[in-house]
Amino acid sequence: MTLKARRTFTAYMMLVPTLILVAVFTLYPILESFVISFFHWDMISPHKQFVGLQNYLQIFEDPLFHRAVINTLLFVILYVPIVMALGLAVALLLNARIRFRAFFRTAIFLPYVTSIAATGIIWQWIFNGQFGLLNDLLRQIGIQGPDWLNTPQDTMICLVTLSVWQSLGYVSVLFLAGLQNISREYYEAARVDGAHGWRLFRHVTWPLLSPTTFFVLLMSTIEAFKVFLPVYVLYGATDGPNDSGLTMLYYMFTEGFSDYRMGYASASAYILFVIILACTLLQMTLQRRVHYES
């Protein structure tokens, strides 16, 4: 064996476990679910019936799927700007010259590492219409709060609140890392030119932070499109009153694991995947444009 061949052999020996596992449980499934999406299959019968595009056509005509798309988009539009604005604000606060920074950072991060099964129950209790903490606090300022979890119009408020609360620490930490990556020299130079406060933020921090902002935007948009667990835990394994919490992933989950329509569920998973991919590509194109301009 030549030296090069021997080195390649050694390297592949070290890569073999990873490559096998990734191939079997990531690459193959991507292809398999694409193939299955053209079949009718209930998991149990040995026979799969080829139906062409029928699953996709049926999904596009299903009023419940329309509902799921609208709910998901609504969640994305509400959640992403809120979590990013709050996350950036908290990061700016943490980046100030303060004491106890480690304490605040750790405290705000705590929900992110806590299982949503536990936090979901806590919020269920807080949103309780009769005895919940939220309505109790509202009562003290003279407002009679609604029965949050049983009012369809309030479902998005509940879902966004829980999700923002859970991810705020994560988003802040990403922004904080971005802020700390900006060299002090830029600020000093801008201060010499007389920039302060808002102008300092607008002309130094914001442009230099843009790679981080784009990364956070991308991550939180993808996460938001895949929203499922907040619904599942907050509404006790249902999709909320009048399907008001039915999201695209919830739709896929029900079709796949309650009704065992594997082809149909795979098709809906692929539609979600394509939407996420399109969003990712769009944001990456935008990012490139912004960078060329500045």
């Binding site: 890569l15 490559l19 449980f25 193959y28 536990a118 209790w125 990364f215």
Partner: protein, 268 residues
């Protein structure tokens, strides 16, 4: 004055974030009659410690903890071993197809894990692994994130260490585990913590692949407990508390590594 405003704002945020946890602990210690009160107070009187033992006995929580410990422990151990080997190969070895393979792995990060749910369930069913530990564990033995994190770290180390070992004729696997590992403890702790906490909290896959209570992990067991107990919120909060405390302690002890690992993932 400005500083005071910063502290005030941070306190408000912290209260918003920690408030639910404080409320959870408060409710968990209240007697049944006080939970459903029209004017609830933060301070329970008297302290009803028995909520904890009642909740603990109402479901096999001991079993849930053992399951979670086993599943997360095995996944983390394999993830670190295989991940470090792959990361070492990508960081330090030259071989045919390196670039292509690395880009292929990078691309898998773009795929939402939820897309894999159905096909992986089918694979696990074909292997007759539904409702088994293998079925829960094996699909998640490696995470590409660990490979990237470690590769980055190995790349930043002075190459003399590796060259000296190579001159001694040491096999890369031995170089990795005998020489590199003791020198790169922080990245192992970071990657291990992120994997362990992620695995401990993973929820959907266990719901899908396990039909047996004896395999349930802490989050899944807690969720089932919720639907059993209904509205006895003091016991629910007691269960939520003892389910989250062990992991909260793991996080608090290793938070510096954990948070910095997460932060680094944003700067690529």
């Amino acid at each position: 004055m400005r500083k005071l405003l910063v502290y005030a704002a941070l306190l408000v945020v912290t209260l918003f974030v920690l408030g639910p946890f404080i409320w959870m602990i408060s409710t968990s210690l209240k007697p049944a009659g006080e939970v459903l009160s029209a004017t609830p107070s933060l301070w329970p009187h008297p302290f009803e410690w028995s909520n904890y033992s009642t909740a603990w006995k109402s479901a096999p929580f001991g079993r849930y903890f053992l399951n979670s410990l086993l599943i997360s422990g095995v996944e983390t151990a394999f993830d670190l071993t295989f991940g470090a080997m792959a990361a070492y190969a990508f960081a330090r070895l030259e071989f045919v197809g390196k670039r292509t393979l690395f880009l292929a792995l990078l691309a898998t990060l773009m795929v939402p894990g939820e897309l894999l749910l159905i096909p992986n369930y089918i694979t696990v069913a074909k292997l007759h692994w539904v409702s088994t530990y293998q079925g829960i564990i094996v699909p998640w033995l490696v995470s590409v994130f660990t490979i990237f994190l470690m590769r980055q770290f190995f790349l930043s180390m002075p190459s003399e260490i590796f060259e000296a070992a190579e001159l001694d004729g040491l096999h890369p696997v031995r170089t990795l585990f005998q020489i590199v590992m003791p020198l790169t403890k922080p990245v192992w702790i970071t990657a291990g913590l992120i994997k362990f906490i992620g695995s401990w909290n993973s929820f959907l896959w266990v719901v899908v692949v396990s039909n047996s209570q004896s395999l349930d992990t802490v989050p899944v067991g807690l969720m089932n407990f919720t639907s059993d107990v209904g509205t006895e919120y003091n016991q629910l909060m007691a269960a939520a508390t003892f389910c989250m405390v062990p992991l909260a302690i793991v996080f608090l002890v290793g938070q510096r590594y954990f948070v910095e690992g997460i932060a680094r993932s944003g700067i690529r």
